[in-house]
């Protein structure tokens, strides 16, 4: 018997995590198996488990240099965006917050566009430029929103984020204008739309430790974010220092989001909707919410990417098209069926 407003989460938690773990394993299999070139699954599995025979040299390259890094990057980037979104929504106590709310995406786009225009040939500079642009945007927002010697209010942060975001967007538009007609134009536009097409082992080697450390550190602050949901003063009354919490969470989410954007462009919707969906299923406790978002965000991006590269093969859709096109209706369905108690 559940009365109205009664919440039963203990059972839900277990099956949600079971399903998510199965999905994550499934995503790996799916990601390396499905693609324009058909390769028998047993051969792929054999190769992954260390068999040297079975795959042709080309198939070997497709599995090891294209599909596997791409799938792993999808898991990492999706997880990073979803965890950033969870932390931002927790920090701002607002379900509308996304990882991009402080201008990360706009700053990264400007940085990437600059890198493409000025040093189009040097591959390393693209993610580097995006990362620097993202970090710079957040730094400016934080500095502007911060009163002398104090902590910025949520409201000022959001407003400054919107303003700085528009500012960087205008610079990006200007850079696009400058590059009009050239090959660099499509490079910039394609980068902004986001995708996992540039995945390689170097990116994974950089991204994996960043995601592990930052997600772990955000999880460290789980109960502080729980207490913050009751207001800054109440949080302080149970011994949580809101200043420390703000500084750390803003730093960690910026690193997470900026590295995700640097390697995969600005992929929308995951950081907004996945935390939300997990909150509807599991409740607001960040101890559960953060790992669940990491898994769900990763799976969602890999599945979207599989669809993006097969739907119009050999052409590739920008993955952001898929994430929003399929994510939004599902999200709305959950909102309605769960009675929209946000």
């Amino acid at each position: 018997m559940t009365r109205p407003g009664q919440v039963s989460r203990r059972g839900a938690t277990r099956w949600v995590f079971t399903v998510l773990l199965v999905l994550a394993a499934g995503s790996l299999v799916l990601g390396v198996t499905i693609g324009p070139v058909a390769i028998p699954f047993r051969r792929i599995l054999g190769s992954l488990l260390g068999e040297t025979e079975g795959l042709t040299a080309i198939q070997e390259v497709i599995v090891w240099q294209l599909r596997l890094p791409r799938t792993l990057l999808g898991l990492l980037v999706g997880g990073a965006l979803a965890v950033s979104g969870t932390a931002m929504q927790g920090l701002f106590r607002n379900p509308l917050a996304s990882p991009y709310i402080l201008g990360v995406a706009s700053g990264a786009s400007t940085g990437a566009a600059l890198a493409i225009l000025l040093a189009g040939g040097i591959a390393v500079l693209l993610p580097a430029g995006a990362f620097v642009g993202a970090g710079l945007a957040v730094l400016v927002v934080y500095t502007l929103a911060r009163p002398a010697g104090g902590r910025p209010s949520i409201f000022t942060l959001i407003l400054a984020g919107v303003a700085i975001g528009s500012f960087f967007s205008s610079i990006t538009s200007f850079l696009i204008f400058l590059s009009s007609g050239g090959e660099k134009l499509s490079d910039i536009l394609f980068w902004i739309m986001g995708g996992l097409g540039r995945a390689d082992w170097t990116g994974i080697a950089i991204m994996a430790p960043i995601v592990l450390v930052c997600v772990g550190a955000i999880l460290y602050f789980a109960r502080d974010m729980n207490a913050l949901a009751l207001g800054e003063e109440t949080a302080q009354h149970v011994g949580v220092n809101p200043d420390t919490l703000y500084r750390w969470i803003l730093l960690l989410t910026t690193i997470l989001t900026a590295s995700a954007v640097a390697l995969a462009g600005t992929i929308g919707f995951i950081g907004l909707a996945i935390p939300h969906i997990m909150r509807l299923l599991l409740g607001p406790d960040h101890h559960r919410l953060i790992p669940a978002s990491a898994l769900a965000g990763g799976c969602f991006l890999v599945w979207s990417d599989v669809l993006a590269r097969t739907a119009f093969a050999p052409a590739e859709l920008p993955v952001g098209v898929i994430t929003a096109f399929f994510g939004a209706p599902f999200f709305l369905y959950l909102l309605r069926s769960k009675g929209a108690k946000l």
């Binding site: 919440v7 039963s8 003063e233 109440t234 149970v238 011994g239 220092n241």
Partner: protein, 271 residues
């Protein structure tokens, strides 16, 4: 636990002090009511004692330890606070919220111990919210919600309980049930500092009343000494009849509705 407030002053804006040279000593186990008009500094004084704000001048000590050096976590082990209203950021359950009262006592990664569980359950019984355990905080009435936050504060097992007009938004029955729970803790020896607007309820809950006006202590004493017609007129600008409850013998204060308040007595400070 003893509270020593020494010449504490605080201003939100330079030149407009909200609390001015307040000195109070509250002994262990004492229950003190803070009364005064809006903007007289009650809430600010409580925020100075809770450590949310630091005094511009003067000091505040808990059992001789200055608040400044203690840090949020160690303060939270000694004192808890219930506010007028609480943000309900997400739909936590009642038990999840009460359990947050254990944060200052527990380590981040360890599970709830038996002692924690007992403290939480005891606090929920005291707050009379044990039957609401799995309900979402957002599905509760204002009176039930305030009792949840009282239970959260009690789960902190504080020596000092601060209450900032906790009954303002409650109906009569919930005001009484809330204050009777606080009364129970007072009877057990908890040190309580309660800011409250209802003078009659104040006189029935605490044994000492501090009347504030324009950020300074105007009078400090037993309800009988403080709640006089003259003091109420001077501080609130209101004419009131003072009487005694025929059954309990407690003081009550009955303002004359329709009487024109004396304008000069109303403070000019925003609250």
């Amino acid at each position: 636990m003893r509270i020593d407030i020494r010449d504490a002053s605080f201003a939100y804006e330079v030149g407009r002090p909200v609390v001015q040279d307040v000195s109070l000593r509250i002994a262990t186990g004492e229950a003190v009511g803070l009364i005064g008009p809006n903007g007289s500094g009650k809430s600010t004084l409580l925020r100075l004692v809770s450590g949310n704000l630091s005094p511009d001048r003067g000091s505040i000590e808990l059992d001789g330890d200055d608040l400044v050096g203690l840090g949020a976590r160690r303060i939270a082990r000694r004192l808890a606070m219930v506010e007028q209203r609480h943000a309900l950021g997400f739909d936590f359950t009642v038990r999840e919220i009460v359990a947050m009262g254990r944060i200052p006592h527990t380590h981040r990664w360890t599970r709830e111990t038996r002692a924690d569980r007992e403290a939480i359950e005891r606090a929920m019984r005291w707050g009379e919210v044990d039957s609401l355990s799995d309900r979402s905080i957002r599905a509760l009435s204002g009176g039930e919600g305030q009792r949840v936050f009282l239970a959260m504060a009690l789960a902190q097992e504080p020596s000092i309980l601060l209450l900032d007009e906790p009954t303002t938004f409650l109906d009569l029955r919930h005001q009484l049930s809330f204050l009777s729970i606080v009364g129970g803790r007072i009877a057990e020896g908890m040190t309580v500092l309660l800011a409250i607007h209802d003078l009659s309820l104040a006189s029935q809950t605490v044994d000492r009343i501090v009347m504030l006006r324009e950020g300074a202590v105007r009078i400090d004493g037993s309800p009988d000494q403080v709640l006089t017609q003259e003091n109420i007129r001077d501080t609130f600008g209101v004419r009131a009849a003072i009487g005694r409850h025929p059954e309990t013998g407690m003081l009550y204060v009955l303002p004359a509705v329709g009487d024109r308040p004396q304008p000069q007595a109303f403070d000019s400070q925003p609250s």
